[in-house]
Symmetry: C2
Subunit: 529 residues, 2 copies
Amino acid sequence: MNSQQFREAAHAAIEEIIEYNETLPTRRVLSAVPPGYLAPLLPTTAPHTPEPFSQIQPDISAHIMPGLTHWQHPNFMAFFPATTSYPSMLAELYSAAFTAPAFNWLCSPAVTELETVVLDWVAQMLGLPEEFLSKGEGGGVIQGTASEAIAVCMVAARERMLGRMLEREGLKEGTEEWEERKGELRGRLVALGSEQAHSSTQKGAIVAGTRYRSVPAPREDGFRMTGGHLREVLERCKREGKVPYYLTVSLGTTSTCAVDAFEEIAGVLKEWPDVWVHVDAAYAGAALVLPEYQHLTKAFVHFDSFDMNMHKWLLTNFDASCLFVRRRHDLTSALSITPSYLRNTFSDSGLVTDYRDWQIPLGRRFRALKIWFVLRSYGIDGLQSYIRNHIELGELFHSLVKGRPDLFSVLTGPAFALTVITVVPKRPQQMRNASKPDPRHEAFTNDFTPDAEKQALFDANAVTKEVYELVNSRGEIFITSGVVNGTYAIRIVSANANTEEKYIRRAFEILVETAEEVLGKGEANGSAN
Amino acid sequence: MNSQQFREAAHAAIEEIIEYNETLPTRRVLSAVPPGYLAPLLPTTAPHTPEPFSQIQPDISAHIMPGLTHWQHPNFMAFFPATTSYPSMLAELYSAAFTAPAFNWLCSPAVTELETVVLDWVAQMLGLPEEFLSKGEGGGVIQGTASEAIAVCMVAARERMLGRMLEREGLKEGTEEWEERKGELRGRLVALGSEQAHSSTQKGAIVAGTRYRSVPAPREDGFRMTGGHLREVLERCKREGKVPYYLTVSLGTTSTCAVDAFEEIAGVLKEWPDVWVHVDAAYAGAALVLPEYQHLTKAFVHFDSFDMNMHKWLLTNFDASCLFVRRRHDLTSALSITPSYLRNTFSDSGLVTDYRDWQIPLGRRFRALKIWFVLRSYGIDGLQSYIRNHIELGELFHSLVKGRPDLFSVLTGPAFALTVITVVPKRPQQMRNASKPDPRHEAFTNDFTPDAEKQALFDANAVTKEVYELVNSRGEIFITSGVVNGTYAIRIVSANANTEEKYIRRAFEILVETAEEVLGKGEANGSAN
């Protein structure tokens, strides 16, 4: 493909992308293809002779589009958003043109230096403590995903903990004794996260090769991890001879966007100063662009790392996970393969940053460009209005739900534009029966209430699940469900560039209609019995 | 940025990219900026108000371009190539538009399914054994980098080895006994790689939390790992109670593009059947598109995984590392966080692939698109001519070097377009003196030869290093050096889309001129003494 062919092909691709975006509302948000749809449509081997772009491009609309789930669709209200924007796409195009596996500074100084600059911009924009900026001992680095950031921090935490333990035992690095003992101690390490922490902490523990234990975060605590529950788990570990070395705290859990009790947790951890605390703010961290949320960052001075995905709520195409650490030396001393006797203050001082030592892979893409383009194209003001608008629409949705207590119960929220609801089962007769002590066996009275509650929960779970599945199978909107401490719930979060009030209202209508349909059916069944 | 603004901005970006590519030869290949050049040129915080693209774009040429090292430059002959192409850029643009953190099939079925299809294309194009295709128990997955692929395989290998050991001891998964014993056994695990294997194996061992030991691959073996040296290391491990669980073999080592003795190694490992063998073919694996190299893949049926970067030699912009495994279950059983009692034959049969269980991060980009575009735009024939041309130019360079034995000595190559050379020091007088026994202390005669050799090596290293540094500091070409088993050597590899014979010849001229200058200076110094 020569320059002129590229120009023509690129213009055609751009028109297709514009057309795609403008026609999004007319498409089915969730792909309806069956598993294995694609292979039969394509040749079984690569072609031997070159194909012109005019032959390749039509396959995008013919074969790829039907298999896409449209994350920018105004009716995409599932998981968390994953947004893109035109400025971000342009930056990704430049990045592809300037391709380099920029594993060190020299490979392309701009790749490293722009990353340092824009991550300082992000840190300030989010109101992170100064410690996380590059000018001191901390700094930011772009990872692929929040889960990768967690794995990186866990490996660094494991090495830091083992190093400290071994040094306290008077052992010397590099000796066989050190290695032997390190192996023994490694088996005692435990990573912690709340029950509501994203599963990537559990996976990170697999990668790091350590145990994992979860901290209760029950409904009565609003699904937040509290200092009290954390202390219980820490003390149990101690009694059992286990060594907690890492903890994920969440700013916005996956199920309900709960925020852990940071100050309490920091207080408890004063007695466990070697535990690495990582703040997983993958989605909700974006809300820290708003001053009214920045009080949340105060406790971060006690923590070791913080991660937020620009590629979720902040208009930057995947991947752009921003990890900040309080002491970059914690990462580089674990992940640099330059032996310690070759390390120098020149490198550690940050004059030259080799980000390969801040991550698992060696090579890296020029991802800072898209963050740079997005921050400049929207400006902090633009991003603030963007986030605020979604939060307000989340509040609107919540108020609509509250207006129909006959159909819905709010489990949590609105929190960061997410509302989590359950459908209210219509079995008043049965429930009353179950709750009322039966005079024939009064001795069991005390057992009756829990049974009734269980039955009520069972009923609620059943209808909520039915409503959820019916809504998604009809395909007008796409939502996700989750089981939160035994409760089956529906999560609704609408937060991309195409989100609008009318889509929120329509989504609520769909939920109402579907709930009425399901509950009506239940009543019909009930009366038939 | 609305559609019309995007159209205009994109057209401008495309013109800039075309102009960049067409003027590459006129640019300085290696960026000459000093550390910290960028921050003073940019604001210290993100702007509050939005900036139009017309304000952003000029900063690319003003501030970013000077900080780029141009990997597509015809005079880029350093490291290994990292190529891009117009079709690849277009695919990256589409990928950014369709952004999704496609962590499971449903998130965008096309992302998963196209990946399976094109990786089968790649496997067949490279002549990999059938076992690595998706139709059986194997399959391919796109990782970010070859180093990430290594880390993933090491974690899977660690879990597979520990699982087998624990089962043989009669323990039951999920019990405390299993966990306890697992911790003990983990401390005995050792990952292996040859001395010449890329350092990412050593880093992978850090990530996986195990020991690492290297296998000698000395000059007399052509820097290849042989069965004999591997056996020695395996037996030493056994004597010491260590358990080798993973081995990297290389198809094209970083320093010299050596190919390990696969058949011999497979033979030795019959006695260690639990060791996971990973073939790191990050760069040279691309040459397997040529039938004349495909005999190399025969031994792979004995190995567990193979990785090759499309983003090095095959015109696909970073990142596109293609990892193939013989049994995908080895990856998913280690990396899936779905508990075993929830796993099903439906998923394991491959009807629906969840690539999140084949990698460390959760989310993933739509990277299959660019491989698809590149394979179709060039065709297998096109890629074959492309690779063959570079290999022939590598042979040309080698023949030029051989024509000047007074200046250069070939350490290795040409291999996969890479030639590794040293500069021949001009100290005949001193060397003869050093080699000739001094009659005053004949007793030490036997010590004289090694000293002379050491001195010769020292001299050669000194002049080679001087030539290398002078060439790079002048900036017309960019090459890398390396120390291979004590020998300081210069690596020259030219293999991107802009590579041409005239640039190869000019690079050789520069090396000759610089070597003559350095050696002439040495002589002048010598005669002055």
